[in-house]
Symmetry: C2
Subunit: 118 residues, 2 copies
Amino acid sequence: MAMTPSMPRPVPDPLVELIAQRFRVLAEPMRIKLLDRLRDGPASVGELQEALSASQQNVSKHLGILLNAGMVSRTRAGTSAYYAIADEGVFELCDQVCGSLRKQIDELEALLAEGIRR
Amino acid sequence: MAMTPSMPRPVPDPLVELIAQRFRVLAEPMRIKLLDRLRDGPASVGELQEALSASQQNVSKHLGILLNAGMVSRTRAGTSAYYAIADEGVFELCDQVCGSLRKQIDELEALLAEGIRR
DNA sequence: CCGTTGTACAAGTATTCAGTTGTGTTAACC
DNA sequence: GGTTAACACAACTGAATACTTGTACAACGG
């Protein structure tokens, strides 16, 4: 279950659109932070608001986008709404991105070291 | 070499910014298509322009963004510029996104089927 | 009830960014 | 050299979207 089976080539436009839309959801620092905070467990809007020191409306809005994308789930309890990670896969994505970033940084450092030496 | 070693929690802001920036690069259908086309091997701007039926300036611009992000490499030959995939990892990212998408679609279908039955 | 608390929605503003247009630059060919 | 072709860069325009402000709604406590 490693590979998506039989990915059509070239990738059809509607699928490209879906993929891009998915990446767009993760293309905002605030949403990355929200997911990162939710990695420690479910949290209410107020808790997230305080943890990220952002406005309630802003937090609620971004959570709505994540919910709409199916990346988090919402559970209402009294007046509070508790959000939780619904798709653990997002962390694999972030880890891979971090891996690529580290690789690039290492290569840059290697180039710099070589540059200093000559 | 599966996990990024010792990811700090919470993820520091500058790293969050870098991650989001990375996702933002992939958040555009045109760039996804360019990478998809380059999966078949290096290609010049003109070839990509024709394959995607887009303007030369637009293709060149998006390739510049991909180049700046370190996802593709550029090789000049005469008046032509040949671009190639520099970071194969992007395809793993896309595959994972496709996996998540498929999972969601399957769950939706399951819900629909159940809804019809009752 | 009535006020407080927690959350979501809507309108307005500001910013960001994609796509086009126009132009500059470099290399091959006559 | 002059011309053509391939690519890249900069300014402009329009659309998408993030963030703020204001408000509405629901649940709980007095």
